[in-house]
Symmetry: D2
Subunit: 347 residues, 4 copies
């Protein structure tokens, strides 16, 4: 019987950190040996997240206090911009799944443009694998450092990449209208995330300027074989978890909506977490809440020659912590669904 | 001192009926002399809507029990398909604002196609004026029967019609992604409107098949001077009131985003209820809740040659009962804002 | 290796039915061989509950269509009043966990008084065991028919029974102020359960007349050794899952709040699902959502000689389906926590 | 025609400040000449509260920048503990309605005990009138400085004070279980007020230690003619506006529940904002949302000799800004309902 994998979670006091703990606590191969949370160092995780108080876990530490020589795998759930130097300083023997945006953009110039500072670990960037698992499984399996995709990019790329690879949709005017729950903004105390500011309403934000746009474009450009610009319009709405992306696309010449469906059905046949719904069935975010699932619907548009795709994920799971564990499983040669088999919680 | 206008509200036990009562109760020229609610006939309105229990009102009647010879004006808030015969049977001296879809489509063949039965008052249809007030004020002023626009069509046409009339946007690939609160589905006890089925989630519905699509197309076709088809994709989300429409358009040749804004600013200058927001400001549904306002934002797209418009309304007010009263004011020669001056309720 | 237990779930199209399926789908000893849903017979469960569409399950049947000779265990999740005859007709070899109220009241006269009709299986009632697992484990283990407690009674009795048994609190003026989510009302399409009628508000209901009052009194009377009447005031609030019960009690002579805590800590030491929180920590419903946990807090009152207890459960799990499976495990000699080890889902 | 009253609102960037502005904007006798918001000084109110952007208002100032010699009346909506010195420094000719807790407690020693510092304007405290309008109308009419009651104390005292004055209920074991929306916590960016921390759940807080307890006790003691201690247990739940207080009381000797109702009906006969509901009707917070109403229900308990009262208010209106304007009207000799006649907004 082999020993368990010794895991450190950096940034355990955020929502994605808590989800990592919750899921890994039922992972038969995982042993959480270190949890960090700089501002909450010294506390138990149960003090920060009472729903996990029943767990026996090491106390929260500052990052500096972790002995990484006794760690096999690190999940980084730190804020954007703080992760590059942390990961660069890790022992080379440690594998890493990074949930921040710090290693998602291959082109460090693009990174600098959108994130407002030079990349702090450009060499490491070259080594990082962009880990949208279903689309990069082989590369993930060999990687030491996996950059886990953003939540919006996961919901957009899973339906679009296979269609662009097949040349089945036009690449030049893709419109991505996404609706997100509030947990995507994290647990930071910001006026815009207050209950009274979010409940009973909706609004778009970061129109034409959201940082997930270049990340989506990177993936779609690779799929299309040429540079792709997109419209990406995120909206904030009153739910804790979930992303609903409505994708408006133009069909390629001679391509039908049924063709789109067939391409996706074939591509995701056998995938445990990505499901193409039957004709006429619209996915709902509440039907994936608490799971690692992505559901995709394909619909004819009223406008001739166009189609509509809908995709839903739980932003904290398939859009963050669940996909990170999926990558962990692949990187460590474990069954890919381990610890990710929970059904959605509805109602 | 002139006598008050004697008003009947047909369908007072629904949400739009309740809003009519709430607003008209503070209207200095209105005297609600008859309220109908077939299934609740014999009850007080306060039994059906406790928030209005303080009002002194006539009891709920069956429609047959109303003496329309003592009525000057009728607001119809009946379900679709039930209104045509009711209105046709009214005395010719009675003016009518109809909140249903029964007289919105000028072409009775289109009506039959989308609503599943022949129009039952085609002659009356020819007389009806489509009452999107800001865009049809003169015709509304002379009308005896005004068909009040649907909630989604109001949110879509107010930003789009002036732009199409000016030839500033392309008419062939307009995409309307709308997000609606639940009150749009009315007070009927349906599984899909239950709290547990709606809270903490979102989904699209009636993709490419919603009955508001031909209504929007009718208005946009008139504005463009030629037949227009649209993409209209409504979504149901957890809020009681509000519609947020995100409109994706292609700019006409030589037209800039600043031009779009200028056209709308000019068109709605002086309008009390339609406001074009400053550059960079995104409207929020919660900032119009409880008011007759429509807020419009105009944004450059990341895709060259394209723009994004956002519009918000309270679906029960500007999208239904408020606009009906606005039309009533215009039809009766009263100041247009009478009884509609409440500010939004936030938070 | 022994064969799996063949299970039928009667009433699989309601929320508690769906939770039974969700949890049993991960139970290593359970084989769901029959699901019934009279009005939805012929459908798949996935058509009724899309979040469970990934499961391979038998189609929904009418009860009459089930071959109970090939069933070992029945979970009854039928509406109150419909279950007595169904269970009475089952083969004697079949064990039963009933989630309805039909067998909860030992005194059939009390049943008739509160439920409006004579009990239809009074002999069977004598055999039924009231299955609040932590308080009746031995009897449950030997039972053929277990009546699973109501959601409110679970939240009230777990804190109060040990205190009454110890004579630590007065039995004569216990006040139970409970706040419930909407799923407790089931999936029936009722006006009072509509999103717009529930969101952004709260109200008490069934004041001094809720059917869970005699059920709670039955348990408290047994614990106190004499007849106990209670105040039980339920409130409906906008959340899908959860019950928060605030319990106001008078301390027995010479008893301190610390004594109350000590009694509960001792009673529930080692219990996997009932946790007494540290001094000063208030439980929250959202910290048990999706789990079989009951959290209890104990607090001094500002009024001398009194105390306040707070308890929280997920009404669909510990208050219904989870406790039913807990009883199933006990009845079948399986580890009690099997299939119930999910952590709460937060946020 | 007399000149309008020149009004300053101190603390206009909070929720109660915004409600003052919203309501006073429709007050025919009010002229808002100065708005302060220290951290937001220099902004327009519309930048802070977009739902009020249509108003023409003076810009936000620091308090120091206000010329109080040109002000007739001040509404103070500042945080607790910051108001005493501000008000003490005002010209003696200026009347004041203070919405903070700074002048609510007559006994400055009690103030110091609960608020953690000595009272900074004890002389002014002696002059202040506690302005629960319906219970102190005559004193309010003559006051220069009115301390507006807290939200919870308003909901508790309106039903309880008349009953204690009449000796109809026991004074020694009153239990007040209150459920509040989130706006009561203000607009400050706190983790505990985040959407994800509040939605889909409920919890008690400040058990036996909330600062509104001594305020309620002050009012009840005066009514009872002797010192009264209470149980006050507030709960935070997912709604923006509203307080529901469930009050558990013991009847006086020979007093019936019908007597309680009769006392309240008589006391509040003719009151425009306080309504005692008919037998069997339970108030709901959503039926007062957006209004200055308080609804009260009276119910027999299942426990003999006891009763249950339920009261609901909109915490931002009758519990704060509306009652402050009601006091303003009384202080200035204006019709008491001026600017407060809006009906509740439902749904």
């Amino acid at each position: 019987m082999s020993a368990k994998i010794r895991i450190a979670i950096l940034g355990a006091s955020g929502y994605t950190g808590a989800e990592l703990v919750r899921l890994l606590a039922r992972h038969p191969n995982a042993d959480m040996v270190a949890l960090t949370a700089d501002r909450r160092a010294g506390n138990t995780l149960g003090a920060v997240f009472p729903h996990l108080a029943a767990l026996t876990l090491p106390p929260l530490l500052a990052i500096e206090a972790v002995d990484f020589s006794a760690v096999d795998f690190v999940f980084c759930a730190l804020p954007h911009g703080t992760t590059q130097e942390v990961i660069a300083a890790l022992p080379a023997t440690v594998k890493v799944a990074d949930l921040s945006a710090d290693f998602r953009l291959e082109d460090v110039a693009t990174y600098a443009q959108w994130y407002g500072h030079e990349h702090r670990a450009p060499t490491l960037q070259q080594e990082a694998v962009y880990g949208l698992t279903e689309l990069a499984r082989a590369a993930v399996a060999k990687a030491r450092l996996v950059a886990c995709p953003g939540c919006y990019p996961t919901s957009a790329q899973l339906p679009l990449v296979p269609l662009l690879e097949a040349g089945a949709i036009a690449a030049d005017e893709i419109i991505i209208d996404s609706k997100s729950g509030v947990s995507g903004a994290g647990r930071a105390a910001k006026e815009g995330s207050l209950f009274c500011e979010v409940t009973e309403g909706i609004h778009a934000y970061a129109i034409a300027s959201h940082r997930h746009a270049p990340e989506i474009e990177q993936g779609l450009s690779r799929a299309a074989g040429r540079p792709v610009l997109i419209n990406f319009t995120p909206h904030l709405m009153p739910m804790s978890r979930g992303i609903f992306s409505t994708l408006y696309v133009r069909l390629g010449n001679g391509v039908s909506v049924a063709d789109l469906r067939a391409i996706l059905v074939k591509r995701y046949a056998g995938e445990p977490f990505v499901k193409v719904l039957p004709d006429g069935v619209v996915p709902q975010t509440r039907h994936v809440r608490g799971s690692n699932l992505c559901l995709i619907g394909v619909f004819a548009d009223r406008l001739p020659g166009r189609a509509i795709l809908c995709s839903v994920i739980d932003n904290l799971i398939k859009g963050a912590s669940g996909q990170a564990i999926q990558n962990f499983n692949v990187m460590m040669g474990l069954p890919e669904t381990t610890a990710l088999e929970q059904f959605p919680l509805f109602p």
